[in-house]
Structure formats: structure tokens, C-alpha cells
């Protein structure tokens, strides 16, 4: 990966640490985007350095702020706990051990919103950059640097082309497409990165299709 100008001149962020504060916030932000808004409840397991140095770096405040939809440069991160109480977000942190292979700055979210429930694994890999590695047991590789569509659908023929077709109609280029499924004919999780932002209502008419469980538009977050 080549270094861009704004990898060096930035990110604009609330201190004190790009990986422990800005990256933590971005992870929370992506999780709330994937579940479709601020969750009702969140259980958050912190692994490694996130658990150990998190307190002094505002990691927990940053994660909660992200779940409230704040970006890494939002000074409301500072008092996100109080704002979570106001917003009715119930949260709980615990320390966890995700194993030797896990990145030192890893976190696992179990979130609920209305009837939805979701488990997301992610890590903060330095300089505010993040990686979401797993959604509900499906392996993914989501960085949040490009607008991304995340879809959980039944593994029936034509689902991918239906969705990519809608994107193509908007004249937008696809950057990456990834599909993982639990088994043939079961469920499939798609992540589609595009070169441009898509309107939130673009897939509105897909929500009532029986084969779509949910579809979410995750906006790009500049680092």
C-alpha cells in the first residue's frame, strides 16, 4: 500500500492516539453503520493493548462515540458516555483474549438494534486505519476507506448481479466485491466497495425481497 499525502498530513482527530482513539472510534462507527444506526445494546470485548492502555487513551470513549455515529474528529467523543446515556445506548466493556494471532488492538462487538443482533470483530492497525475482519462469523476485509455496501442475503443465483447491477446503473465503478457463504444455498454475506458514495435509499426496494436479510450502506470515513 502506497502512502498518500493525507496519510502524512492527518488524520484530523481528537487525541491522544491515532490507533487507540481515532481507530477505535472508526471501528465503533463502522459497526453502527453495519447494524443500521446506534445500537440499543453493546457488549464490547477489548483485547491486548486495547484493554491495557485503553483507559488513558480514551479508547472506550472513542468506541462509544463511534457507536453514536461520531467521527474521529468529533470533540463530543470526550463525553460520549453521558451522550450514550441520553441516547439510550446500553453498553458494557470487558477484557478478552482473542488469541495470539489477533492484532494487539483488537475488539469484538456484540450489538443489538431493534430485532437485529450482530457480532463484529475488528482491529485498529495504526495511523487511525482499521480493519473489520468478521461479521456474524463471515470473514470480511473491510477498511472503511471506500464507500461499502454490506448485504446479508440467501445464497440464491443472481443476488450478486442484482445488487451490482443497481450500482452500475448509477454509473459507479466497483472497487472490490467479496462474497462468503455459510454453505451452498444457505446465507451469503457480500461486501462491495465502490469508488463513489451511493445514496442511502438506493436499495430501498430491495428491503422487502425475501432473499435479502439486510443491506447497509457504510459511508467512507476519511482517515
Amino acid at each position: 500500500m502506497t502512502t498518500g499525502l493525507f496519510d502524512i498530513l492527518g488524520p484530523k482527530m481528537v487525541g491522544p492516539s491515532s490507533s487507540h482513539t481515532a481507530g477505535a472510534c472508526r471501528l465503533g462507527y463502522v459497526v453502527q453503520a453495519i447494524i443500521g444506526g446506534t445500537p440499543d445494546t453493546a457488549r464490547i470485548g477489548l483485547h491486548g493493548s486495547f484493554a491495557m492502555t485503553g483507559e488513558g487513551h480514551g479508547t472506550r470513549k472513542a468506541i462509544i462515540g463511534g457507536l453514536l455515529g461520531y467521527r474521529p474528529d468529533d470533540v463530543r467523543l470526550r463525553d460520549s458516555f453521558a451522550r450514550a446515556d441520553e441516547a439510550g445506548l446500553e453498553y458494557e466493556f470487558y477484557e478478552t483474549d482473542l488469541g495470539e494471532e489477533a492484532h494487539p488492538n483488537s475488539v469484538v462487538f456484540e450489538v443489538t438494534r431493534d430485532a437485529d443482533r450482530m457480532t463484529v470483530h475488528g482491529c485498529s492497525i495504526g495511523g487511525g486505519r482499521i480493519r473489520v475482519q468478521e461479521i456474524d462469523g463471515f470473514p470480511v476485509d473491510l477498511k472503511g476507506t471506500l464507500p461499502t455496501i454490506v448485504v446479508l442475503a440467501d445464497d440464491v443465483p443472481g443476488t450478486v448481479s442484482k445488487i451490482t447491477g443497481i450500482i452500475a446503473e448509477r454509473g459507479l465503478n466497483l472497487a472490490t466485491v467479496r462474497v462468503d457463504r455459510t454453505g451452498r444455498g444457505e446465507r451469503a454475506l457480500m461486501t462491495i466497495e465502490t469508488d463513489g458514495e451511493l445514496p442511502d435509499d438506493l436499495f430501498a426496494n430491495l428491503h422487502d425481497r425475501s432473499w435479502v436479510h439486510w443491506i447497509r450502506n457504510v459511508h467512507r470515513l476519511n482517515v
Binding site: 502506497t2 498518500g4 488524520p11 482527530m13 487525541g15 491515532s18 492502555t53 480514551g58 495511523g127
Partner: protein, 309 residues
């Protein structure tokens, strides 16, 4: 961006464009952005940096940990000004940004949050001293960004990757090159400014007391800023540095990878591991961190990547 300073300088000479234009050209090519968009983003970055300096100079209470806070203000108001007011201003501005950072305030990570004080302290003070326009300041930032990108490619800009030499060292090299270039330095002199900066910061460890980006970070930002100006001054006066700049950057990278993990942002060594450092950590309620890391890890374990970056 560029993978060597040599490549960058050659492109600039071949195309007959300035170092700032070469960075801009490369950024536009790689991202597809428009020139105005990039310049606007740099201007916005400068606004955030300026606001952080102002906010930091106004802080008159301790940081949440109690380790820092109010130092920039004290220096600006009550320093003896041994080398004149500008020197003191550079120091206080560098500290100001880091004190804002420690309070979860808004900063620009240039290139990292822990080294965010250096570039603004140098560039804003030199802008006043050398009467640069705001447009020149944007160009200076482009040059600084070009230097940082090469260092990130060839070595490291993260304390966890290469110690403090990679953080404040990189920031100082960025600032020194920007000053040398804007003050009319030749490409050779800009290269010497980078080399002269890094040679003096090689081996500097990252040893944050209590694992917080405060002690010694606020002071290291101040001294790194002064270091950058010293290097630019010497380079512009015609001092050369006989080791080519890319080779100096490579040495910094090599020293970083060979640096014991205790000295790479883990708070396991250096000042953080002194009896006093551990007492401070305990008082700040951060001793648990040090104990946990000590229990779980042995010194020299190269895979450990703990701590902020």
C-alpha cells in the same frame, strides 16, 4: 507517493517543477483528486493546526492524567527567552499542540498524534519570522508531506515501529525540509536539511511514562522542533551532510527494527520503566498496564506491538 527522496528530486528536475508541485502532481495522479481539492484540504489542516496551538496556549489546568497541562502557557508567559522570543515561541507552540492532544482535543496527526506539535510549531513561527504568505505555507506543507511519505515507505513514522526517532524524528525532518525549501534552498540543501535532522535523532527511543502520550512526548516535540530549525539553518548556510539522504532514512529504519520492543511505545523500558516513571504510572492509575505487560511479555519479543501510534 515517492519511494525515495532521489526519485522525488529527479522528477522535479526532469519536469522543471518545484518540489511542492511534484508532490501535488503525484497525489493527483494517485487519487484522481483535483488540485483545488488537495490545496483546500491542506488549508483545512493548517486551520486545525493553528486552532490547536491557540487552544493549547490557553490551557491552564492539568490534563486528565495530571501529568501535563499548562506548560505551554507557562513557557510563553514566563520563559527567560534566552535566544529571543521566537525560540521560546517555537517551544511553547510545540508543547501547546501536545497538551491539546492529551486532553482529547482536536489535532492534526502530522505525521502522528504523538508528534503533532513539531510541524505547526516550526512552520507557524517561521511564517511570522520569514513573512511567508498563506499560499507559501500550503506549499511548505506539501513538501513536508512528501518527506513524511518517503520516510513512511522506507522506514517508519510510528513509535511502535521505530521508536521516537520515527515519530518526532520524522516530523522534524518534514519541518526542516519545508523550511529549507521555502527559504530558497536547492534540492541538495533540502536533502541535507533532512539528513542533518535525522542524524541527530537516530536511536531516540519511545518510552512514554504510564503509556500516555504526555511524558516525555510534550518535551520531545519541543526539542524536535528546535532541532528541525537547527538543521535547516545549517543546510541553508551550505553545510553538507556526506551520507545521502535516502541512506540516512534507511539507517533510521534499520535502527528502528533492531530497537528492543521495550523502547517502542510499550512503556516497558526507558523513562517509563524507571522507579519514578512507575510511581507516576501508579499515581495516574495506569500501573495496571505496566504490570499486565510485564507479566505477559518478555523483553525483546519482536512481535509485540503494544501501545499507541
Amino acid at each position: 507517493m515517492f519511494t525515495s527522496i532521489e526519485e522525488w528530486f529527479e522528477l522535479s528536475e526532469r519536469e522543471g517543477i518545484s518540489l511542492a508541485q511534484a508532490v501535488l502532481q503525484r497525489e493527483l495522479k494517485e487519487t484522481g483528486a483535483e488540485e483545488a481539492e488537495v490545496r483546500n484540504r491542506v488549508e483545512e489542516a493548517l486551520e486545525v493546526m493553528r486552532a490547536a496551538v491557540q487552544d493549547g496556549l490557553a490551557i491552564d489546568e492539568p490534563s486528565p492524567s495530571g501529568l501535563t497541562g499548562g506548560r505551554a502557557r507557562r513557557l510563553a508567559a514566563g520563559g527567560p527567552e534566552l535566544l529571543g522570543v521566537a525560540f521560546t515561541t517555537v517551544l511553547s507552540r510545540a508543547i501547546a499542540t501536545l497538551e491539546v492532544n492529551a486532553r482529547m482535543g482536536l489535532i492534526m496527526a502530522t505525521p502522528t498524534a504523538g508528534a503533532a506539535g513539531v510541524v505547526p510549531a516550526v512552520l507557524f513561527t517561521l511564517q511570522e519570522e520569514c513573512c511567508w504568505t498563506d499560499e507559501q505555507l500550503v506549499d511548505a506543507m506539501l513538501v513536508a508531506g512528501g518527506v513524511g511519505a518517503v520516510i513512511a515507505e522506507r522506514a517508519s513514522i510510528a513509535g511502535a515501529g521505530g521508536g521516537c526517532q520515527a515519530e518526532t524524528g520524522s516530523a522534524a525532518a518534514m519541518a526542516a525540509a519545508a523550511v529549507a525549501w521555502l527559504e530558497g534552498g536547492s534540492h541538495e540543501q533540502v536533502g541535507h536539511a533532512i539528513g542533518l535532522t535525522l542524524q541527530g535523532m537516530l536511536g531516540l527511543i519511545c518510552d512514554p511514562v504510564a503509556g500516555l502520550v504526555e511524558i516525555p512526548c510534550v518535551y520531545r516535540n519541543a526539542t524536535a522542533a528546535v532541532h528541525a530549525i537547527a538543521a535547516a539553518e545549517m543546510a541553508l548556510a551550505g553545510m553538507d551532510f556526506p551520507i545521502p539522504v535516502d541512506q540516512v532514512i534507511d539507517v533510521m529504519g534499520e535502527v528502528g527494527t533492531k530497537m528492543d520492543v521495550r523502547y517502542r511505545e510499550t512503556a516497558l523500558g526507558g523513562l517509563a520503566a524507571t522507579p519514578a516513571g512507575q510511581e507516576i504510572a501508579a499515581a495516574a492509575g495506569m500501573d495496571r498496564l505496566v504490570q499486565l505487560q510485564r507479566k505477559g511479555r518478555t523483553a525483546g519479543e519482536s512481535s509485540a506491538r503494544i501501545g499507541p501510534s
